[in-house]
């Protein structure tokens, strides 16, 4: 408990060194997914998923392709609203309130829950504008404030030294790894509580992937991270918790959820054991 409290007191924008994350020994659930089912045009994609996401921890969603991991991720910030034909049943509680309530302010929710996509998605604008666009939208318009927040976010992702002299050049001219870190910075600039990451390293080369992975590790404790990854070794290295999904019947289901170490070393379910040992999937 006291580790969690210490975390809460820290300045929100100075990430500690790599080891600074809490051990998550006594975690609090910040998101509770209750009986969530998800359908695309009536076809079930996820069936009755319930799990808790713990504050300050990294939760990895693993499993074969098409088992609904990304769908679950987009359900958490209601990005599913943008997918035609997608319907969600069940509840997702965030600090006790259901984000699927009618009067939920979706824009505010998405500010609280940042998201990073598989492919880097910098907007075709300057680096500066990539960061300031969403800040402006959320009412932060004072020039110095915007500049300070942008700089801090870029420092947090280790990009500041690489781009501080070309903030007005096109973001699309950055390398893939830099673009992905810019996208993370863009999400961090809004000071979210939770960061959703959909295979953030899979489109990058090994070196850039390593840099981003280190960065994700440093987010631990400051942010609650939910990450979808196909790289089991990566999940094992960075995650505190792991959730294993599998397609049974037509829809994805949650097979097992627990401490990362447990999932990888002593899984309860034989499917999990087979998957993490590379027998299936």
């Amino acid at each position: 408990m006291n580790i969690e409290q210490e975390v809460g007191k820290c300045d929100p924008f100075t990430l500690g060194p790599l080891e600074a994350g809490p051990a998550c020994c006594d975690p609090l659930p910040v998101i509770q997914v209750k009986d969530l089912s998800l359908r695309y045009n009536g076809k079930p994609a996820l069936e009755k998923v319930s799990l808790d996401i713990y504050e300050g921890c990294i939760t990895a969603l693993i499993g074969p392709s098409g088992c609904g991991k990304t769908s679950l991720l987009s359900a958490i910030n209601r990005l599913t609203d943008l997918i035609p034909g997608c319907s969600v049943n069940g509840r997702i509680l965030m600090q006790g309130r259901n984000i699927y309530d009618r009067d939920e302010n979706v824009q505010a929710l998405r500010r609280q829950v940042g998201m990073v996509f598989q492919k880097p998605t910098p907007f075709p604008l300057s680096i500066r504008r990539n960061l300031s666009l969403s800040l402006h939208e959320h009412g932060i318009t004072r020039k110095t404030e915007v500049a300070d927040i942008s700089e801090q976010a870029l420092r947090d992702v280790g990009l500041w030294d690489e781009v501080c002299d070309r903030m007005d050049s096109a973001a699309l001219n950055l390398s893939g790894g830099q673009q992905q870190r810019l996208c993370i910075a863009r999400a961090l600039a809004l000071q979210p509580q939770i960061l959703l990451m959909d295979e953030p390293c899979s489109a990058l080369d090994p070196i850039a992937s390593g840099v981003v992975e280190d960065l994700i590790c440093r987010l631990r404790g400051r942010y609650t991270v939910v990450i979808v990854t196909h790289n089991l070794a990566q999940a094992r290295r960075i995650a505190n918790y792991a959730a294993f999904f599998w397609v049974s019947g037509h829809a994805g289901q949650l097979i097992e959820f627990g401490r990362c170490q447990k999932i990888f070393e002593s899984p309860r379910h034989e499917l999990t054991a087979a998957y993490v040992n590379g027998v299936r999937g």
Partner: protein, 288 residues
Amino acid sequence: MYDVVRNRGLRKLREYAAQCLIYTAVLLISAVFIWLLIDLLRGGLSHLSWEFITELPRDAGRAGGIASILVSTLLILLVAVLTAVPVAWMTAVLLAEFVATGSWFGKAVRFSLHVLAGVPSIVFGLFGNAFFCVYLELGFSILSGGLTLACMLLPILTSTAEAGLRAVPHVYRLAASALGLSRAAALLHLILPAAAPVMAAGLLLGIGRALAETAALLFTSGYAERMPDSLLDSGRALALHIFDLSMNVPGGDEPAYASALVLVSLLLGINILAMKFAYGLQRSKLMS
């Protein structure tokens, strides 16, 4: 063996004949086209001068210039573009960003644009005459002509703008939403700027189409060759001027050639500009 050898000979002959025919066709087309261009240039340049652009037509257009014609053309274009663009682009944004492909309203709008795209220009002329000139009592006027052209431009402006919007990668919309941007802000700051080159190309194509149009203006904007005083005045478009000079004015060939040259050069410039915008899009696509 013998059969194979003979067939090979026949095949070679066929191959050769096909090639000859194709090259002949291409040469023929190029020759006719160059003939047309040279005629246009030779006939036009001899009469074209600065005075021709700046002077008012005299003697039914045989003498003088085309200043008033150019002003009328510009006014008709302005009316057409200023009314068609807002409607077309709003429709395009709605179809590309807000309406599910299956919804009845989207289907109905799409269908009506499809119908409009198929209407021949002379029928637009009939409609414009019946609706704008007679029913709305605008008479033969620049306003009637411009509004008729606006109806004609709707489908091309909408379809190009929609294509441009759809070419913007979907991840931009997702990423913008994930950052909590409103759809209006995403549209304004991201999607419309990204689609702007294609929309501009479509706009230029539309202007070109309007500039070349004759049949739809025949009985909507009228024939008057004087300088128009207001939008309710009749005004003669450049294309119509060429038609009138060549059909109704004996001895009007020389100014007609010069007017045709002006019209073709304007259209050429517009088309080149439109293509530049379209290429710009491809390049920016390659970059991302």
